[in-house]
Symmetry: D2
């Protein structure tokens, strides 16, 4: 950490900053420059609270050099993390894992039809919400435990793995029992109570980026999970909030390169929530894979006009099939391949 | 709801939209125009899922006329809600209620000193966190139940009321037992499990706006609380995320006028989190009152350089005193007054 | 246009709105609904000034149905515009046109070396600024007319076409004389005086999206050029401003699909400015082509560490070569091809 | 400037950075730390192009300590700049200068009526556009020179000063001849050709903040004007673009405190453009003055429903009168006063 003093800072003000740093248990190293003095804080272990010095007299600015996250960082572990899945594939290596299915589990027949359709097109993981976070209390809130049971039946019938969302401690216990991957939604990215619980259970966690979260904040949320003992976190870019209302969100594909640069964790992309419109999903899915995403999370519904939620962004099965063919070809251009149940690409 | 068709939409596509609307149980009213047809959906009860028609063939755009929130809206209840507090004051009338104190409860002596200081300057509510949501798992996370006990002691000693944050169902039960007002933090604005629990307990709820939440989204979150039976919700503007990093957030004061226009609920302002720097807090507190805020939530610490969190945005007691004098004078210009324990202004 | 009245709007207020619409020369059609009246404005020719009715008594909201742009819209002209270039290629058809070169023209030898390098790797257009818009008055401002002459020499030596920026009427006259494509920079996207001048000269115009411009605003700026008689406008996505400072901008790739949906104009992508870092450019260039961009604008410098501007985002020639191979392969996946001088792909 | 190296940066990579800094003519000072080396650049005169080192091998991050602006900074000149006006008042001292009038000059009678109305309520400067930047080429573009002549007549009749916008070099010459203050609009904040011309003429310049400009960028644009020799720049906050569409823009009132902290230049506020709705203007005008603004720019129209532009945000004369009374009272609370023609407050 570097404390930049104002040009007219007095020697007493500089001494005051040094004193506080020392009182916090770190070493202070004043560096007089041509125009102003800066004070370096040496020995930062990531726990320094910059806030104490930020508004002190004579301080112009506090600059952070050390990153606040640790275990998730590339400097802590340089090898990419490969999150192993029960079907022999893994997320974070050469495999590009495709997770597809409806927004919500709506009925037994519905999820079964969706499962067969996405499997036929080449997906290896089935998505579908049993607990749904909805902006309005009057919207469909999901089938709850029954939804999880339907998902388990679809898994039994198709061999697909299951990813589904948990919204609180109660739901997590259930989801963790039924699912292969536990999803934490964008709105809960900073629900620290939930993150800690996710760190204490053993299933891999798919952590969605919050609507206006920076990548460092996403990594700090992942750090909550790792710091409780669960190393298997999959990040997910799903669009960020912006000023332009012509799409639902802005799909931030450079986040993939940024996350891969700062962290060893894998990152997948969700073009359905990012765009909000099924006709834009195939192009954005192609772009995500071209950009280096480790997988995709997409919405597919056998009959989108009848969907109880997110119908507009759910692809028709035919759209999804064509998307899979294009995505496979693009993955090969950059020496990757769409995952096939039974074993990881090497 | 209004479905705008493309200029070249076919009669079949228009009929398809009409069919889906009818299947959803509403009346569809096609309106041919000079350039294109629009289809009105009549009878919208706020539960219509626009998503079903949004991506249908021939649809250019879906326009929402009916607002998705109900009980929180000005059209549902035209009189402003006055949230009554145990000391005889209320939030939402002529009173301007000032809530002040440290970011976290750090020690018994510390919170007691803070309580006496803010009471001396004219505050009627003491703020202080016992459960702290922190971006990093390695930051100070609050004293928990012990912190709540210290707050209760400070209340007993000074007569101040208590506002403090709950982060999950477990914490809410405790907070609801000790506090006079339960705070839901910005990061939890869309933690629907927590919102529902808040609606089932009886204490007033101070609901902070999420970092990138629109006012309609804030109102929908409040609707979750009202729809469970608790009418006493106080909204809180605390700064939104923007592109400019010269302040911590952008303090969106027009949110106050917007919220007052759309809803009958009171709204207070938190200039401490909005700016992140104590030297900017007094000016922004004045501006918030001039803009019509129903109260203030500010951080004051007897010794900010030693604070365990948010030191930079905590005012010195002297700053707070001067702020209170200015704020009182400004309140009078617009015919309001800073609340005094014992009774509401009329 | 649809004027939504408040639930408690009086008949007089509704009549007032009708009167103003009539006075503006349009037809007003009041539509009483279950909860409120809406008033339709019929005959909107894109010139209606909504502002007159927006704040009238009883008005809740004004909703725009008609888009304000005309000639640039897909509904005005359904065929994609193909902007023809002097080397027989065109932008907007199957061709993917790659424009590459340094940020600024720095010297005769430098631009010549860059031209040979990008041509060898397969680019058909050379970029390079002679007039540079710089945030600081103390930064390098470009070589001016001499820079244009160096560009012309590079064209003569290599057969590459030239794209370069004009910042004002004086510069436009010069640029228009030397260049094959005139660039309007992001900061000038709403410099209407410059846009009108661009519409009055005959060279194709590459119009960059402003840092916080919506797609409809970008299209309105293009409309300024078309409305003065120049149909050859190439839109350019180059990153938008967001809250996250881990990249220079957010590369909004869904803008490509959105622009193609709303307009017949071609759109290219600039991953160099979007990311600000050369190591991210190849991945984002691949993503842009996978998303359907009609071309690329990228920075390449023979010696980026010595560049007078934008060194960090300039690729090494070797990086650019590899990027071109990957981009070509991805273009083929979606049935397009990188342009080759001599003739358009069909 | 501080170059932070990666933990695993090699000695060769560190030497490479030192070499480039030396080649740029500055001193490089490597500082080995516990976890990584940082390299300080000493002697930064504000012209260093960080871009050269940013993407070099082994570099993790480049941190800017020196600000890129100079003459506009508080450290260059600690006394606030007072921009003197011909009527004896000044902007930047105790005076709060109120500039009011219609969006556009529409007719001789109209501007005369507006002038008398705003003067009666206490304004000392008349605003009104003769050249109008409009998003659409089909909207009313202003009366041009005739508009300026009408403004001059209104000045002659009332003694009010004139502020009006220039959009290009041609318009600036005219505006500079007629007006007392030249306005540069938000869309032209980074039109560097125009800024330089503004620096070469002698009238004070009111420089509006761009829709998504940071305060440092606003100050850099002001620096363009000062560096050409004109010290009389008045900054103007007019709302920034955000994700929330419930208001036209977000009025960033903390910008006032931030600008006053970084610069000696005065800053005024425009609540009309910030909110886009007349009913919100009085509250936001009060808030701006409470926050410390040096003046106001507001739209007032004798008959807003008939306005040719911006009718929704134009106040009725009665609203403006009441606003002036409230604003005067609030100015006194913080020891300032609304300007009165004839002499500055002291």
């Amino acid at each position: 950490m570097l404390i930049v003093m104002k040009q007219d800072a007095t020697p007493e003000q500089i001494a005051g900053v040094v004193e506080i740093i020392t009182a916090m248990g770190y070493e202070a190293r004043p560096m007089p420059g041509r125009q102003r003095t800066t004070v370096g804080l040496v020995g930062n272990d990531g726990r320094v609270d910059a806030s104490r010095v930020e508004a002190m007299g004579g301080v112009a600015e506090v600059i952070h050099v050390t990153k606040p996250y640790k275990q998730v960082s590339r400097e802590w572990k340089s090898e990419p993390t490969r999150v192993p899945l029960p079907d022999g594939t893994s997320i974070g290596g050469r495999d590009v894992v495709v997770m597809a299915g409806p927004c919500s589990v709506e009925s037994e027949a519905g999820i079964m039809a969706a499962a067969h359709a996405v499997k036929a097109a080449g997906a290896t993981v089935l998505r579908g919400g049993a607990f749904k976070p909805r902006s309005s209390p009057y919207s469909f809130q999901g089938l709850g435990k029954v939804g999880l049971e339907y998902l388990a039946q679809a898994r039994a019938a198709t061999g697909l793995l299951i990813v589904t969302e948990a919204m609180d401690a109660y739901g997590l216990e259930l989801v963790s029992e039924f699912a292969d991957i536990v999803q934490v939604g964008a709105r809960n990215m900073q629900n620290y109570s939930l993150l800690k619980e996710c760190g204490r259970q053993r299933k891999p966690v798919l952590l969605k980026r919050g609507l206006s979260a920076t990548i460092p904040e996403l990594l700090l949320s992942a750090e909550y999970i790792l710091s409780e003992g669960n190393p298997n976190v999959i990040l997910c870019e799903r669009g960020i909030r912006s000023f332009d209302s012509t799409t639902r969100n802005v799909f931030d594909l450079s986040a993939i390169a940024v996350a891969h640069g700062l962290s060893h964790l894998p990152i997948v992309a969700d073009p359905s929530h990012a765009t909000g419109h099924r006709d834009m999903v195939p192009a954005m899915a192609r772009a995500a894979i071209a950009a280096g995403a480790d997988g995709l999370l997409v919405e597919v519904h056998p009959n989108p006009e009848r969907a109880l939620s997110d119908g507009a962004q759910s692809m028709y099965p035919e759209q999804f099939e064509r998307m899979m063919r294009e995505v496979s070809a693009i993955a090969e251009v950059i020496d990757r391949r769409v995952a096939i149940a039974g074993g990881s690409a090497t």
